[in-house]
């Protein structure tokens, strides 16, 4: 479990992370935000690499700063750049990390974990000869070597080809069943697919938090609907516009998108209005809001607030 309480990191006058608080339990928690939002800084504080300026965090019940060594025993960390010793073999590297961590039966453990990430056949290859995706897996294996309670992965899918990305996502999802995984990404669809819980961070602050489905539901409620019927859009448009409770309409490629002015679901009224005219309804569905839109909406809001604050100063 990860518990973060008012965690803050300042560099001189610049605040990289601004009093964030969250809890992550078993499963995959996505840490989502644009580049420079403070994701890596937060992760570095959680792994004991950086001391926080203010606030505190516990990992597996140990304070990451005051009981740093204890906390680190329960964390596996994969930095974004996946630093490895290129002149070592995959198994050699894992055994080295295992030895520093005091893992017993090192060779056996390293072989097990290499098999776990699908690299058993490359155990004796020098890391320099491995592809980017394989190196990522060696890095992941080294973070898992001591079977940690908490796994922190900083943008692990960056620079991988699409197939490697899918494989890694599957692996992360599986790891979420046994470990508390904190997984950062700036790719929204990825967070949606992999994570049980998403924390959206921008300019060092949390702007939204919740299950991906819940975040989406929040914006979909009373949201826009797409209407298609077997008549020309020019005919359909005024009819939909006149339905009470519809705030605005716009033409999309294959139909009309209606935005309601109230929180009531406008679909029954739209349906009857069309059927009453003898037209046939082809499609009537909520316009899916993906995390992308939520994210843009939230971060735009945040940026506006930040700008307003700057102007005010």
């Amino acid at each position: 479990m990860i518990e973060v309480n008012q965690l803050t990191k300042r560099y001189g006058g610049f605040t990289a992370v601004n009093g964030i608080s969250f809890r992550a339990v078993r499963g995959v928690t996505g840490f989502l935000g644009p580049n420079g939002a403070g994701k890596t800084t937060t992760m570095r504080m959680l792994t004991g690499y950086l001391p926080p300026t203010d606030g505190n965090a516990t990992v597996a019940g140990y304070d990451v700063f005051k009981q740093s060594i204890k906390a680190r025993q329960h964390v596996g960390y994969l930095p974004e750049s996946v630093p490895l010793y290129r002149d070592m073999t995959a198994i050699g590297y894992l055994m080295y990390i295992a030895e520093i961590r005091g893992v017993k039966h090192r060779r056996e453990r390293a072989e097990t974990i290499l098999a776990r990430v699908g690299l058993a056949n490359r155990a004796n290859s020098q890391i320099r000869t491995l592809s980017k995706g394989m190196r990522q897996r060696v890095g992941l294996a080294s973070a898992l070597i001591h079977d940690p309670e908490v796994l922190i992965l900083d943008e692990p899918t960056i620079g991988l080809d699409p197939i490697q990305v899918l494989e890694l996502r599957d692996l992360v999802r599986e790891l979420g069943e046994r470990h508390t995984v904190l997984f950062s990404t700036h790719i929204l669809s990825e967070a949606e697919q992999v994570c049980d819980d998403v924390i959206i961070i921008n300019h060092g602050s949390i702007v939204a938090q919740g299950a991906p489905a819940a975040l989406r539901g929040e914006l979909e409620r009373g949201g826009r609907v797409l209407v298609r019927a077997d008549v020309a859009i020019e005919q359909l448009l005024p009819v939909v516009r006149e339905i009470s409770g519809i705030g605005s309409v716009e033409i999309s490629l294959n139909g009309v998108i209606a935005t309601p002015s109230t929180t009531d679901d406008p679909r029954p009224q739209i349906a009857s209005a069309i059927v009453n005219r003898g037209w046939r309804l082809l499609e009537l569905r909520p316009v899916a809001v993906n995390l992308e839109e939520i994210f843009l909406e939230l971060t735009r809001q945040g940026n506006k607030d930040a700008e307003a604050a700057e102007v005010a100063e």
């Binding site: 570095r44 792994t47 004991g48 690499y49 950086l50 001391p51 060594i69 204890k70 680190r72 025993q73 964390v75 960390y77 930095p79 750049s81 630093p83 490895l84 010793y85 290129r86 002149d87 080295y96 990390i97 030895e99 520093i100 961590r101 005091g102 893992v103 017993k104 039966h105 056996e108 453990r109 097990t112 098999a115 776990r116 990430v117 699908g118 490359r122 592809s131 995706g133 394989m134 080294s142 070597i145 001591h146 079977d147 197939i163 490697q164 899918l166 494989e167 599957d170 692996l171 599986e174 069943e177 046994r178």
Partner: protein
């Protein structure tokens, strides 16, 4: 060979995972073992060994042909030359130690393992000191040759070698500071060599100063490396204060290196 196709990753059930046993971690020994092995794969380390023994061989040859039968077999000669050459070789041996970890980013991984900076630095230092010890032991071959053609003073030999061992540890620790200070190995080596040379030449500086200020001259001399080696240990005179001087320099330099690594991390 390409990556495995999609869907071939074994699942948790397929790979039997035994409970991981953890305990009795000795991180500095792990670091020491890796680094020490690294010296036997490093072209620079072989280059240093080659240059050192080439120099020693030529010098020894000249010395033997010159003094044969006229002077006593001076076995302190070889350790004295080694200590002088260390101003150049120590930085070459240490420049990689921390600079490379910083540049490659592996320091970030290591510093998130349950290992203190101190353990990390001590492990690295012991590795380079051990490599230096190997070189020193190989150079005993000259002592063996001298003992065949003459009768060396073994007391002096032991004193000089013990001194050279401590001296080497001290200058290696000093040179290591600069590997922590910069990511650039060349800069690290250059700054290390300059610093050691200054400490080596402090005797000369002290002589120049002695006319103006004998007190200052004494301080400069005592701070330097030569006063604690060339004048005493190299002649087989073992003084506690000289031993303490080298031990103190080592610990101080390692402490400074630890602090630098810590501060650089906190600022990153």
């Amino acid at each position: 060979m390409t990556d495995m196709p999609l869907g071939t990753l074994p699942t948790e059930a397929q790979v039997e995972e035994r409970a991981v046993e953890i305990g009795g971690a000795m991180p500095f020994i792990a670091v020491f073992k890796r680094e020490f092995k690294q010296y036997f794969r490093s072209p620079i380390a072989y280059g240093v060994a080659f240059a050192l023994f080439l120099f020693l061989g030529i010098y020894f040859n000249g010395f033997v042909s010159q003094v044969n039968g006229q002077m006593p077999a001076d076995t302190t000669l070889i350790p004295s030359i080694i200590t002088f050459l260390m101003f150049l070789f120590a930085p070459l041996l240490t420049m990689r130690l921390i600079a490379e970890e910083t540049r490659e980013g592996t320091l970030e991984t290591l510093m998130t393992l349950p290992m203190s900076e101190w353990q990390f630095i001590v492990g690295k230092f012991l590795a380079v000191w051990a490599y230096y010890t190997v070189l020193l032991v190989i150079s005993l071959i000259y002592v063996a040759i001298m003992s065949m053609i003459g009768t060396p003073d073994y007391g002096a030999t032991i004193g000089a070698y013990f001194g050279a061992w401590l001296y080497g540890g001290a200058v290696l620790a000093i040179a290591m500071i600069f590997s922590a200070l910069t990511e650039d190995q060349i800069v690290a080596a250059f700054l290390g060599a300059a610093t050691i040379l200054v400490l080596y030449l402090s005797n000369t500086a002290a002589s120049a100063l002695s006319a103006q200020s004998p007190v200052l001259a004494n301080i400069v001399r005592e701070l330097g490396l030569t006063a604690h080696y060339d004048a005493t240990m190299a002649a087989g005179i073992l003084r506690l204060e000289d031993v303490l001087y080298f031990v103190f320099v080592m610990i101080a330099a390692l402490f400074i290196t630890t602090r630098i690594v810590e501060i650089r991390r906190w600022r990153s």
